[in-house]
């Protein structure tokens, strides 16, 4: 198959998305039809690419002789692209029901669809330049989604999101230029592209730049000093928070970190250096910090957002172990966390959208009224805290296995941090479920008579996600073996 298909799969949603507000619809249904057509076609195409695994690359455009926009599909890209292509249609389905009560949804769906294409662009990027460009674009395309309601706090959230992301990109930019100057090629090659001869005695310079670059990219992955934007961004409509801030954007950050660490700088030069220590300790701090903030938070979505912060650092922690096993664990958690968190967010969204309740102390006794939603919510909570048999346990297991086998004392601390955060996760997730299911002896259910389970458009994705969590938890080895083949030759 010709590599032009890359251009199609990436540009189609961007261009077709840009058209959304312009087309003349007779009614909402037509728009829904159009949007879903675009999304489904795109993801089908993308999945087809992943299935066919074409080897040749597509050079879309050249800035200069070594700055070019080019796409190729490889193992890591496959994982991310597959994840996105599977989750996006479900999320779109969900948002159709959710967005009914929001204003000017054409604009919303326009940027929503465009960010789909851009995220795919990140996934299929062949070299660091392409990835960087789409990374920046993702920031800009998702900004309007956060601003959507245009209320005061939405604007503030949008601003801080923008500042953080662009700032991160600015530091990542340093890494990019460094790779371009000291690397053999800008392309992603497993094991790194740095040219040792050219590097000469500048090893320390390399480490400094790596740390800067790592921090830069992990701003999107909400690592500790740079995590404030994520919970703020919770003001956006739930499909956005769920998909973008649990899957696309933040995962793009984590993905970029993986690319840079394993495919550009190369773990060989970094393992055992102070740089590794620095970044790893940052991730460990974040793991605990995020959970504790989540514990303090009483706003449902913000609590989930903070839990995202800590879970993303699981991934980053896996990356910073800098062994193949670590990358496997990271990939594993990247996929599984996406499922768990999007599920949790959608449950929260269902509650907010159907009852307008935003805070946790308002959820007493909801378990009886919205059984479907809250059973699934509890399942996702248990998955997040890593109950065996659900997917959370698998990824946690692989992360820790990597950490322990790396024989790195700091990694042992990381293991401890993981477990502490698991405990905190148990606390902040299960308290919600307990409230919902056991409101107390003489609780007046008449007070929440209005509460009902949402329609099938919302419940179906939830059920699918829950099923996926159980499935991944019970038989995960096909996935794991796939990951292992991807990273075998690190």
């Amino acid at each position: 198959m010709s590599p032009v298909v890359f251009a199609v799969v990436i540009l189609l949603p961007i261009l077709a998305g840009a058209l959304i507000p312009l087309l003349p619809y007779k009614n909402r249904l037509q728009m829904i039809f159009y949007v879903s057509a675009v999304v489904i076609v795109t993801s089908a195409l993308s999945l087809w690419i992943l299935f066919r695994q074409p080897q040749e690359a597509l050079v879309l455009f050249r800035f200069t002789d070594n700055l070019s926009i080019s796409f190729r599909v490889d193992g890591l890209g496959t994982v991310f692209a597959g994840l996105v292509s599977v989750l996006w249609p479900l999320a779109t389905l969900y948002s159709f029901e959710y967005m009914e009560h929001e204003k000017h949804e054409e604009i919303f769906f326009m940027f929503y669809t465009m960010s789909f294409g851009i995220t795919l662009g990140i996934a299929y990027a062949e070299d660091i330049v392409t990835m960087y460009c789409f990374y920046e674009m993702l920031t800009l395309a998702t900004l309007p989604l956060i601003l959507h309601t245009l209320t005061r706090e939405a604007v503030l959230a949008g601003r801080s999101y923008l500042y953080y992301s662009l700032g991160g990109a600015a530091f990542a930019f340093i890494g990019m230029v460094f790779i371009l100057s000291y690397g053999d090629s800008p392309d992603f090659v497993l094991g790194g592209v740095l040219n040792h001869a050219r590097l000469g005695d500048h090893a320390n310079r390399l480490l400094i730049v790596y740390v800067l670059c790592f921090c830069g990219f992990s701003v999107k992955a909400a690592m500790f000093p740079f995590s404030a934007w994520l919970p703020q961004a919770g003001v956006a409509p739930t499909p956005v928070t769920a998909l973008l801030h649990a899957v696309a954007v933040v995962k793009a950050g984590a993905f970029a970190v993986m690319r840079v660490t394993y495919y550009s700088f190369g773990t060989g030069l970094l393992r055992g250096t102070w740089a590794q220590t620095a970044v790893m300790s940052l991730t460990i701090i974040t793991i605990v910090y995020g959970c504790s903030r989540a514990l303090k938070e009483t706003h449902l979505k913000r609590r989930l957002a903070w839990s995202t912060v800590s879970n993303l650092s699981y991934i980053l922690f896996g990356v910073t172990i800098m062994t193949p096993a670590g990358l496997v664990g990271a990939l594993c958690h990247m996929v599984f966390h996406a499922v768990m968190k999007i599920c949790a967010f959608f449950c929260a969204g269902a509650v907010i959208c159907k009852t307008g309740r935003q805070y946790i102390y308002e959820l007493d006794g909801f378990g009886r009224k919205m059984p479907a939603v809250f059973v699934i919510f509890t399942v996702s909570g248990m998955a997040l805290m890593g109950v065996p048999g659900l997917c959370g346990f698998i990824s946690k297991w692989h992360l820790v296995e990597a950490a322990v086998s790396s024989r790195n004392p700091l990694a042992y601390v990381g293991v401890a941090a993981l477990l502490v955060s698991a405990l905190l996760t148990a606390i902040y997730m299960l308290t919600i479920s307990v409230r919902a299911f056991f409101p107390g002896r003489n609780f007046d259910y008449a007070a929440i008579a209005d509460v009902k389970d949402p329609g099938w458009k919302m419940v179906l994705p939830l059920a699918l996600f829950a099923a996926a969590m159980l499935l991944c938890g019970i038989c995960s080895h096909p996935l794991i073996t796939a990951f292992e083949t991807i990273v075998r030759s690190v």
Binding site: F61, R62, F63, T64, D65, L67, Y132, C133, E136, M137, L140, L143, L147, L150, V155, G158, R159, L162, Y163, L166, G167, A170, F171, F173, I174, V177, F178, L180, S181, Y182, R205, I208, V209, L212, G216
Partner: protein, 502 residues
């Protein structure tokens, strides 16, 4: 000698002559004459560029009958031709974009004088670019200053006059130092023609004598030109001058005038003193430090600013900082980055000024940050233009700013001592740029409450209301995209130019 080779000289003379002529014409005619002159000169410069690229080497054009050591010379290479062409394009667009403001803000009788000044300015800029004679350079620096001052004060309200005065004083200080530097150099070498001076300087260097005086010359000239091009600590005059003068003046001043001085400085470094000597001297590190400080402080001031035009003015302090950083890296790649930034910043900053005026038109001519709320909907083209400009400033890929940022970083990567400082400063100033530019972008796309609009009598502006300005904006956007997307040929031209230069 080919006809084309006369063009540089002709273009200088042409614009010089167009000045007095348009003083006797009416406003309309003067305007058209001015546009015509700029276009013609642009065409000529293009021709010259083509010629020089064709021959592949620079040529010297002797004026009058005196041979080298005494006579006055013009020296034309790829770099000069390219700059001339580009300056003409930008100036043309600025004039287009600002025509409506000129009509509104200038006295009926004064408008034709404006064109006199613009023509003089153009001629002086061309002279600065082309001349091979230091003293001529000085003279035209002064002409440049005077006409620029005129451009500032022609919108005759207190602020502009005050701004003009401050501008005048600062640049007089600058040119004084510059002149002193020239005199010393003349004293040292006995020549005024750059090429001859360079030979002498080499001789002196070889002899190993007069090390200190040479250094003093360099310092004097650098500081002089730095003051005139508003390098960070000497930028006090800039915000008022750019912030309150009429649109086209602001655009031209910010995008061209200061750049002319920088170009002259580069010329002196490479053609008069020789970059090797400059690199050895610590002068360059001082410039570097000032540049870094400018990059940061300029943006910080811009963030504090509530008046959008002054904000943009401050941001050009930061941009000048970039240019000097590139210069201060002390490598050819660094200088190329600076040159490219001269181009991209000229395109972007002018665009921003025009776009902002478009937005303010839709906001009751108020440049207050908060009055711009939702202006992006009231004047859509301006909104888009401003967004493009901001993206370019922040250095989003696909826009001009990204390339120059990339060139700076690439240049910095290879320098041992200055790498980290430069890279971090780049990153930080990017963040700061993001802070104030994107803040404004979000602001202009945050819809304003209809009641407020009715109360403030803000009205929407369409393309047809102000064709000239819209055209200018579109052209600027295109220029920006060209610089962003197909930068490679331009960078190659700059490299060739640099090779011819030294």
């Amino acid at each position: 000698m080919a006809l084309v080779q006369n063009f540089p000289f002709i273009s200088i003379i042409l614009s010089l002559a167009a000045g007095p002529v348009s003083s006797v014409l009416g406003a309309k005619k003067a305007k058209w004459l001015n546009l015509l002159v700029i276009t013609v000169i642009g065409a000529m410069s293009a021709a010259v560029l083509a010629f020089v690229v064709g021959t592949g080497e620079s040529y010297v054009y002797t004026m009058g009958h005196f041979p080298a050591p005494w006579g006055n010379e013009i020296r034309v290479g790829v770099l000069e031709a390219l700059m001339a062409l580009f300056f003409c394009v930008v100036m043309l667009l600025c004039m287009l974009g600002g025509s409506r403001e000129r009509f509104l803000e200038l006295e009926e009788s004064k408008e034709n004088l404006y064109y006199v000044l613009v023509n003089l300015l153009l001629s002086s800029l061309l002279a600065l670019i082309y001349t091979n004679d230091l003293f001529t350079a000085y003279v035209f620096v002064e002409i440049n200053t005077i006409s620029a001052c005129g451009l500032i004060m022609i919108k005759q309200n207190g602020r502009t006059i005050e701004a003009a005065t401050r501008y005048m004083i600062m640049s007089l200080l600058g040119s004084g130092l510059f002149l002193l530097g020239i005199c010393f150099l003349y004293d040292l070498t006995g020549h005024l023609l750059m090429s001859n001076i360079q030979e002498q300087v080499r001789a002196i260097k070889a002899a190993g004598t007069y090390h200190l005086p040479l250094l003093v010359c360099v310092c004097l000239m650098s500081v002089g030109l730095a003051i005139k091009s508003a390098l960070y600590p000497f930028h006090a005059w800039l915000p008022d001058a750019y912030g309150y003068s009429t649109l086209s003046s602001a655009a031209i001043l910010s995008s061209l005038v200061s750049k002319g001085y920088v170009f002259l400085l580069i010329k002196i470094f490479f053609r008069v003193i020789g970059f090797g000597i400059i690199d050895d001297s610590k002068v360059i590190d001082v410039l570097f430090a000032f540049g870094i400080a400018g990059m940061i402080m300029g943006s910080v001031d811009a963030i504090r600013e509530d008046d959008v035009r002054r904000m943009i003015a401050y941001s050009s302090v930061a941009q000048i900082g970039y240019i000097y950083v590139g210069l201060g890296l002390g490598t050819t790649t660094g200088v190329i980055a600076s040159l490219y930034h001269i181009l991209s910043h000229a395109a972007t900053k002018a665009l921003l000024f025009v776009a902002v005026s478009g937005l303010t038109d839709a906001s009751g001519d108020s440049t207050d940050f908060f009055d711009l709320t939702g202006a992006g909907y009231r004047n859509r083209l301006a909104g888009v233009a401003f967004t493009v400009g901001s993206f370019s400033m922040v250095g989003i890929p696909l826009f001009a700013g990204f390339i120059s940022k990339y060139l700076f970083a690439r240049a910095a990567i290879w320098s041992d001592s200055k790498m980290l400082v430069t890279l971090v400063a780049l990153a930080v100033s990017t963040i700061l740029n993001a802070v104030y530019f994107m803040k404004t972008v979000i602001r202009i796309y945050t819809p304003e409450h209809p009641a407020v609009l009715k109360k403030k009598k803000f009205r929407a502006v369409t393309v047809s209301d102000q064709p000239a300005k819209s055209a200018a904006m579109v052209c600027f956007i295109i220029l920006n995209l060209i610089l962003g997307l197909s930068s490679e040929p331009i960078v190659h031209l700059l490299e060739r130019g640099m090779n011819m230069f030294a």
